[in-house]
Symmetry: C2
Subunit: 572 residues, 2 copies
């Protein structure tokens, strides 16, 4: 490709509306442009990267035995009604009507469509296992699209679905997909981790996410210092403390706390250790006839894990906090003064709270707290569960080492769905004994467009992007110095361009009439990994200059060796 | 690919709802499945063909110097308002609202989006000419989707757009695209014709369609018997007859025609030559203040060409026929008795009508016609224009030969848009003299999904599809006979499968435990061009059997020569 016939569209200034570095660099390097909120056009440079990402995914999915298919973007509402997701899915599911006013959706995912297809096409266990995938445009009407293509509304996803006669076959394909995902992200040169993920809401059992580690990640990942245990914070188990509960040493006293509306104020005003305080949160119950609201108790310095709370059978999904009015109507006190003592509601107590003694909590009377509370003596200990987010230093649930927290960007997710969709959609086959069996299903996603952004979060410096060879928009760029003045430089550049193309190397030839400084900074911004600089001075000595984008090192390479030199760089 | 890991999904029966052969065969060969009206899933076999079609298009567009980009499916309404198409486009443009109730469309085409992008990115004539294309999902909410993917609502299109400093540059790129399109359709092995097309509605000047010739085509194409002139019927000019008007021989008489409501009835009841009758049609005028309605006069045996009529400046676009009530209110007679004599409305007369003498037409009195009408003597000849469809035998407008009519399927369209979009969207660049210039634009489309169906219309027999090598889902299929009983057959089949893959040949290995007859008929239905049959009997003589799908010929090929034999077949 010649820059003179190309649309480079690099920008000198960092656009104001781009918060994270990948978004800034994708705009500056001319990879994407915003069309409307959460809608992006992929300019040529961006699309070249995206296509390489897609092709790596395609190759590895094919190797893993999955077969490519392509389903429509627009899906009829009937299928979503069949699985109940027409009602359950929030406004991220964009519902539309056609010219005849029939209801459709813009597909955010394709479980319904593929299950419908497979129940029609597959009749016998002999056709199983079967894995199908597509690389296709999806739409999720995010309430607040942000970070460019990291969280856009229209995006490209690889979604795969597998169908099985039994659990064992599902688990085998799940492992194959895990392996394929590792190959995919390894080939892309990403620093990633497979992490345990929650699978509560969709049902199903096993679920792992693949996270690219980056400061800008929206997820927190808990890692063991000693093993390869890794889990999304929402999933990472907080073990019960090894210590047992200490005997009471204080008597329970009612204290006036008119200015302590929060744990922070209480701790400061009364010089209490925060680990001796309790937060009480009220959420809607799943069975409002038994009790409309349930109390969740967390240590003052801990955070509620909303996914764990939502997964409790007695808690309504989606997790909904009680309003101040609802709380006042039931308790007679406001949110600043809630606690377990004298409470007439069901209570779930975090494991860390269950081992506390001599602790402080709201008295369920406005502007009053109890100090020196002890379980059993002052109030019965309710049901105990894991309710909190882990914190750094917690023991790892794997039994080895303690936990560290890092930020991650979710780029993939593999999921054992079980019969969650096949049951409601009656996707059955005849088994070996001639009886009808509900198929087991798995699903496996990769956010293709997000991978591009995530890769930039890990591969950049102050001058721009630094692409790994495998997903670079171009592998090599030829930068001739003052080509329009030197016939010798022009001839050498044209010859090298032809030679590299003949070798199948993906090369950009910067044939613009620009100053060398402009060309260098554009090419560093775009992040092409290997640069050959052609100038009269080095040619006097029979050399070109080679510059490596990642190391920044410049070396002289003999003109006759330059193709071999580049081939060696590219096969490393 | 092994059929055991694949989703063949062939059907024995022809589905009831499929009218044309490509739709029937795409369903039967397991290429597509209907999800909802006008929405199709591409099963693996169909997608393999579609991807090969896309890749041929991609390669030739790249060779022609176009650069690939990717724009969103969902487009903001503002851009469509800017060009006026928000109002002008009919209900085929699906208008939707997002969660914040902001208006968007599902893009049926991308002139607005690309022009918006280019006006932001391109500032100088030095960046021109520039051609960009995408291969992308489109949506048109057809009122009556039909013929499978031939006229579906969601479809995949290659749409390219070029930008120029002047007309000359546009015309040069238009020619390059014409050449690229010929390469594309030649490589796909299609029998196609570039034909002149109307460009009235979009504005712009030059426009050609590429049609695949097939009986099921929705368009009629007029060809010269002597030259390479070809035009869409809507565009093909009907020349003025070479004959001059004969002198009157009859006097005009008013005749009672109570049972002649149509030309056919009039001709039959009064034994008139149909070439001596006239049809009068009333359409809405573009300037209703001057006249609300205009009369169009066509010879009784001719058909009105609605595109030609709509392109008349005095006729309102879109072409709208007057209702019976409107006609009665103005004329005092109904549609069965209309004619030019005594008419107080503007009149446009077809060229063939202008040379008629002694003709019959309605008297503008119910149940009465005039016979023996003559121009000048009985009624003034109005404006003369080309208003009718050509018929076979008409002289060709190119001056050589006469016209033949054939049916075609439009698979491509190239178009000189001129400044139609760039002017309304203010897409300007600085010219060489520093002054602002409105860019000239071209656009160039190919219906990728439709090409697949059109190709089947041309390539099939009673057993199924016959793919050209270049777009076959697989180039070769290996059919082993009773492989599960003969170890020797299985080993030979596995070895050949590995050898062909090693040579980069796209091969399907039918490793199902099926009877040979089932395998043969499935593979003929799917249309794989080259089949290797492996059986004990031929192996006794050191041979495999080769069968050519198109010719049906079977030949014995030595086992050691089979790879070379297939390579020779594939490079033909």
């Amino acid at each position: 490709m010649r820059t003179s016939k190309y649309l480079l569209s690099t920008l000198k200034e960092t656009p104001n509306d781009a918060e994270i570095v990948s978004h800034q660099l994708m705009l500056r390097a001319g990879m994407i442009r915003r069309l409307a909120s959460g809608l992006y056009t992929w300019l040529p440079t961006g699309l070249r990267v995206l296509r390489k990402v897609e092709n790596i995914i395609r190759e590895e999915m094919n190797k893993a035995g999955a077969v490519e298919t392509l389903m429509p973007v627009v899906q009829p509402s009937e299928l979503w009604q069949e699985t109940g997701r027409w009602d359950k899915f929030g406004p991220e599911l964009l519902r539309i009507a056609d010219r005849h006013d029939r209801p459709f959706v813009l597909g955010p995912t394709h479980e319904e469509v593929i299950t419908d297809m497979i129940r029609n096409e597959v009749k016998s266990y002999k056709q199983l296992p079967l894995s199908l995938y597509q690389i296709q445009t999806k739409f999720r009407d995010e309430v607040r699209p942000r970070f460019g293509v990291m969280r856009s509304r229209e995006f490209i996803m690889k979604d795969a679905y597998s169908f099985h006669i039994d659990r064992e076959s599902l688990e085998a394909t799940y492992q194959d997909m895990h392996t394929a995902y590792c190959h995919i992200f390894n080939r892309m040169g990403l620093d990633y981790r497979p992490v345990l993920a929650d699978s509560g809401a969709i049902g199903g059992s096993g679920s792992q996410e693949f996270h690219v580690l980056a400061e800008s990640g929206e997820d927190l990942i808990a890692f063991s210092t000693e093993s390869d245990y890794a889990a999304n914070l929402e999933k990472a188990e907080a073990l019960a403390p090894a210590t047992t509960r200490a005997e009471p040493t204080q008597t329970m006293t009612l204290v006036d706390t008119p200015n302590a509306k929060t744990i922070a104020q209480l701790v400061e005003q009364f010089n209490l250790p925060i680990e001796k305080t309790i937060k009480t949160l009220y959420v809607k119950a799943s069975n409002p006839v038994e009790a409309p609201i349930i109390a969740l108790l967390i240590r003052g310095d801990h955070e509620l894990n909303e996914v764990k709370a939502e997964n409790l059978p007695e808690v309504a999904a989606p997790l909904t906090f009680a309003t101040e009015e609802e709380i006042r109507a039931l308790i007679g006190a406001g949110p600043g003064s809630l606690g377990p003592v004298g409470l007439k509601l069901p209570m779930v107590v975090d494991r860390s709270v269950a081992v506390m003694s001599d602790f402080a909590a709201g008295a369920n009377i406005d502007d009053k707290h109890y100090f020196g509370i002890n379980w059993g003596r002052d109030v019965e200990l309710g049901q105990v569960a894991d309710l909190r987010n882990v914190v750094e230093g917690d023991p790892s649930p794997c039994g080895q080492g303690t936990l560290l927290l890092k930020r991650g960007i979710e780029v993939g997710h593999i999921f054992q769905l079980g019969t969650n969709y096949s049951e409601s959609m009656k996707a059955n086959v005849l088994g070996p004994d001639g009886k009808s069996v509900t198929m087991e299903m798995g699903c496996y996603g990769i956010g293709c467009t997000r991978v591009v952004a995530a890769s930039i979060e890990q591969n950049h410096d102050q001058n721009g992007i630094i692409w790994p060879n495998a997903i670079a928009p171009f592998e090599v760029v030829i930068v001739p110095m003052n080509m329009h003045k030197s016939e010798r430089v022009q001839e050498a550049a044209e010859k090298l361009y032809a030679d590299l193309q003949a070798q199948g190397i993906d090369v950009l030839f910067d044939d613009r009439k620009e100053r060398p400084g402009v060309m260098f900074s554009d090419m560093e911004l775009i992040g092409i990994p290997h640069m050959i600089i052609i100038g009269d001075r080095s040619m006097d000595e029979g050399n070109f200059e080679y510059k490596n984008r990642r190391s920044g090192e410049k070396t002289s390479v003999s003109m006759s060796d330059v193709v071999a030199h580049l081939q060696a760089q590219l096969t490393r």
